[in-house]
Symmetry: C2
Subunit: 467 residues, 2 copies
C-alpha cells in the first residue's frame, strides 16, 4: 500500500467515516475500559465488526482476532483503543493491512509542550500519509455516523434522525464539548453525525466539513473548533458546503488571547489568531455563533430553512407575542442585532385588528395578549396574515409559558405555504417543559432558547455575498 494520491486520501476519508467494516484494536471485556465502552457503542452497528484482542477469543457474539494480520479483510475503519505506547505499532499494522483510516484515542502527543511527544504525533501522521490511510486524532473521542450505527468512539454520543428527515452533522475538535452539544439529541434534535478530531494530526475539521457536505442525511453542519493547519482549507470547505445547500453554523473556540493560548496546551493546534476568521467565514456563507449554547439551535434553524429563499439583506421580521413584555424584548433584540422590524401594510393591520382582542395591538411587535392562550387558532390566523404581507420575511413568536398550543403543525404548514421561516423563542425557564420537545420536533418550526440567539441567527440569514 503506497497510494498516497489526494484522490486515494479523499476516497479513504469517505470509506473511513461511512465504514462497512470496523476493527476494534484493544477490544476488551474489562468494565470501564475504552475497549469495552467502544464495543458497547457499536452494538447497533450495521456493518462487519472485528474485535482484535490477543487475550480474548470472543466478546459477546463476536469472534476476536489476535492481530490485524489475522483479519479476513482490511477494514474500512480501525479503532485503536490501546495505550499510547502501543499506538505506533498498531498504526503501522493498519497501514500495512490497507485500512481506510484509524481512530486514535490516546493522549500525550502534540497537546503537550514536549518535543518528543510532538515528534511521535508527526510519525503517526507520516505513517498514515505514506499509505494514503486517514487518521483521526490522536487525543480524540472518535466519531459517530448514526445512519450506519457506526459509533466509533468511547464517549456516549447520543444521536439519530427521525425517519426520512435530515439531521445536524456536528463537528467538534473537542470530544467532550462535542458530547455536551450532541446531548441536544436527548430532547429530540435530529443529529446525523458527531465527528471529533482532537489533535488533528491528519484529519482536521475542514476534512470533516467536506465529508458532511456529501452526506444526504445532513441538513446543516454545526462546527466548533479551536485550531487548524490551514485556515484557507476550512474557508474553502465551508464555501463548498453552503454552496451545496448544506448551511454551516460555527462557534469558534479560543477567540481571546487567554483562550488562544489555552488552545496550545489543549490540542496543540494553531488558532491563527491574526486570521480574519469572522469576515472570511461569513463571506463563505457561514452563520457565526457566539456562545456554544446557541450552536445546535442555530444549526437546527439552518437545517429547517435550508430550502427557503433567503432575502438579500437581513430579513424584516414580524413579532407576534402572547405577552407584551416578551414582544418588547424581541423588538429590543431585533434592533440590537440589526434585524429590521417589518412595517405592516394597512391591509395587514386591518386584518389583524379583526382577529385580535380590542385591547391588543396590531402594530409590530404585535401583542396578541393572554387571549393567545385562550384561543390558539387565533395565533395561527394572525401568523398567516403576517406571513402574507410582502413586507414580512420572517415571523418570530416569543413563546411564553411552557405549553403545547396544539398549533405547532399548523404553523409549520404556514412556513411551507409562504416559504418564510417561523422562529419560536422559548421564553419559559421550564427549559424542557410541556411543548418544548414537540415544538422542536415540528418539521418547520425553528426553536431558540434566547431572543439574542434567535436574532443573531436571523441577522445572518441572507443571500451569501457575491465574492
Amino acid at each position: 500500500m503506497s497510494t498516497n494520491s489526494p484522490e486515494q486520501s479523499r476516497k479513504n476519508l469517505n470509506r473511513f467515516l461511512a465504514p462497512r467494516s470496523i476493527a476494534v484494536i484493544g477490544a476488551s471485556d474489562r468494565p470501564g475500559s475504552l475497549g469495552l465502552r467502544t464495543m458497547r457503542n457499536l452494538e447497533a452497528y450495521s456493518g462487519r465488526l472485528f474485535p482484535v484482542s490477543r487475550r480474548l477469543e470472543k466478546i459477546g457474539d463476536h469472534r476476536c482476532y489476535a492481530s490485524m494480520d489475522d483479519l479476513p479483510d482490511a477494514p474500512d475503519c480501525a479503532i485503536l483503543a490501546v495505550p499510547a505506547a502501543a499506538v505506533e505499532a498498531e498504526v503501522e499494522a493498519c497501514a500495512r493491512r490497507g485500512v481506510g483510516g484509524c481512530v486514535v484515542f490516546a493522549s500525550g502527543y502534540g497537546e503537550l509542550d514536549d518535543a518528543e511527544c510532538a515528534a511521535a504525533q508527526k510519525r503517526l501522521r507520516d505513517l498514515a500519509g505514506e499509505a494514503g490511510m486517514r487518521l483521526l486524532g490522536p487525543n480524540t473521542t472518535g466519531f459517530a455516523n448514526f445512519a450506519l450505527g457506526a459509533h466509533a468512539g468511547f464517549a456516549e454520543f447520543p444521536g439519530g434522525v427521525a425517519d426520512g428527515g435530515k439531521g445536524i452533522g456536528l463537528v467538534s475538535q473537542s470530544g467532550a464539548l462535542g458530547l455536551a452539544l450532541a446531548q441536544s439529541a436527548e430532547h429530540g434534535t435530529g443529529i446525523s453525525h458527531v465527528l471529533t478530531c482532537g489533535n488533528s494530526a491528519d484529519i482536521e475539521v475542514a476534512d470533516l466539513v467536506s465529508f458532511l457536505t456529501d452526506q444526504p442525511e445532513v441538513g446543516a453542519i454545526a462546527l466548533t473548533f479551536e485550531g487548524i493547519n490551514s485556515p484557507e482549507r476550512l474557508i474553502e470547505a465551508v464555501r463548498n458546503a453552503t454552496a451545496s445547500g448544506k448551511p454551516v453554523a460555527i462557534c469558534r473556540v479560543g477567540v481571546t488571547p487567554a483562550g488562544a493560548s489555552a488552545v496550545r496546551w489543549h490540542t496543540g493546534t494553531n488558532p491563527h489568531v491574526d486570521y480574519p476568521w469572522d469576515e472570511n467565514l461569513a463571506q463563505a456563507g457561514a452563520s457565526i455563533v457566539r456562545g456554544a449554547e446557541r450552536l445546535v439551535e442555530t444549526a437546527a434553524f439552518l437545517a429547517k430553512t435550508a430550502d427557503l429563499a433567503r432575502p438579500s439583506a437581513a430579513p424584516a421580521v414580524a413579532i407576534l407575542s402572547s405577552s407584551g413584555g416578551s414582544g418588547i424584548l424581541a423588538a429590543d433584540g431585533a434592533t440590537a442585532a440589526g434585524v429590521p422590524l417589518a412595517v405592516f401594510s394597512d391591509e395587514t393591520s386591518a386584518l389583524l385588528a379583526q382577529e385580535l382582542p380590542s385591547f391588543a395591538s396590531p402594530r409590530n411587535p404585535c401583542d396578541a395578549t393572554a387571549q393567545a392562550t385562550a384561543n390558539p387558532p387565533m395565533v395561527t390566523r394572525c401568523a398567516d396574515i403576517l406571513l402574507s404581507d410582502p413586507a414580512v420575511d420572517c415571523l418570530v413568536l416569543p413563546w411564553g409559558k411552557a405549553w403545547d398550543s396544539g398549533q405547532f403543525g399548523a404553523l409549520s404548514d404556514l412556513v411551507e405555504a409562504h416559504g418564510k421561516p417561523i422562529c419560536l423563542v422559548w421564553m419559559s425557564q421550564w427549559l424542557e417543559g410541556p411543548g418544548a420537545d414537540a415544538a422542536e420536533a415540528t418539521k418547520r418550526l425553528c426553536v431558540f432558547r434566547s431572543i439574542a440567539g434567535c436574532f443573531s441567527a436571523l441577522a445572518t440569514w441572507r443571500k451569501a455575498d457575491s465574492a
Copy 2:
C-alpha cells in the same frame, strides 16, 4: 377611611402583599373564568378567604358573600375578577370598606392610546389613594406570596422554597413574562414571591422591591420592568435592597427605540429612555442582566452568595473543566466580560500537578480532562486546592455532559469553607438532563446555562461603589 398618609400607604402595602384575608370579587364556578382560576390558585392559602358573588351561595367549601359590605371584616386583599365596566364601583366599595389593597385584572386602561381609558385609570388610582388603599394593576395577572399560599392571581405561577431556605423574589411588570420566568420553579429554583404590576397605576416595581427587601424568605430579587413613574424611586429602592443584604438582578425591557415605543402600547408606562439606567442601577448595587433567560439564574447566584464577602474589583476566577474545549470557551468568556483569570501560585500548580493526570494542564484554565468523569473526587480536591489560593476569588466549572458526579454536596461545602463562590456552567444541551436539578438544588452551587451569562454575573460581583 381617609388616612392617606405615606405611613398608612406603606403599612397597607405590607398588609396587602402578605394578606391574612383575601376577598375574591367575581368568584365563580364557571370553567375558564378568571373568578374560578383565581379561586383554584387560592386552594393552598393559609388565611381567611371570602368569595364575593351575587349569584352563588357557596364555591367548594367556601360560603359566598353577596357584596363587600356583607363581609364580616375588611380583608387585607381584594381581588377584582370582574370586567372593566364593574371595576370602578368595586374599587369604591373596597375603599369604603377599608381594604388593604386591590388587584385589578381588567385591561383597557392606560395601555390604550385613548384619553378616556387613561382617565378611567386615573380615577381608580385616585379612589385608592384617597383611602390610603393600595392598587395593583390594572392589566395585571396579580401576585403570589408562596410562604402564605397567597396566590392572588389567575395565572399559574409555580413557586415555593425548600424548607428553611431562601428564595428569589420575582418582580415583573409584565404578567406573562413573570410566568415564563417563574416556571424555573418547575426544575427546582426556589421562588418565594412572584409580583406583577401591569399598568402600575399605583403600585409600581419600586414598591414591590421595597416590600421584598423586608421579607425574611427572600434571598435575592429578580426584577424585570419596562416603565415607571419615577426612576429615582426605583434607584432608591434598589439601593436599600442591596444595602440590606437583598441583592438585585435586573433585566430591563424596552431598551431600544423600537422596544421603548412598544412599551407605550403595552402598559402605557414611561420607559424614561434618556435616563442613565445602567449606570445608576449599577451604582445602586444591582447586577444588570442582558437577556431574560439569564435573569433567574443570576438572581439565584446572588441569593446563594449573598453572605459571602465580595472582592473590591471583578473577581479573579479559576477555571476547572473536564473538557479542554469548554475550559477555553470559559477563558474566552472571562476575557470578554472583563473578568480576570487568576494566576495560580507555584504551590497551587504543584499541588494540582499531583492530582491531575500527566497530560492535563495545571494552568488556568485548568483542564482536568475526561479523567474528571472517571474520578469525581479528584475534581473536588482540585477545587479545594484552587479555592485555597489567595489569588483565586471564585471557581468556575464548565460542566460537560449532563451528569450528577455525586460531588455537588462536597463542592457546596467547599464554598462554605473558603467563603468563595463556585459557579457550574451547564454546557450540556440536554438542558434538564441528569444532574441539572440536583446541581441547582445544592445549597451553595450556582448554576448558569451559558458561559456568557456566568461571567456577566461575575463581572458585577464586587463591592458596591462608594457613592
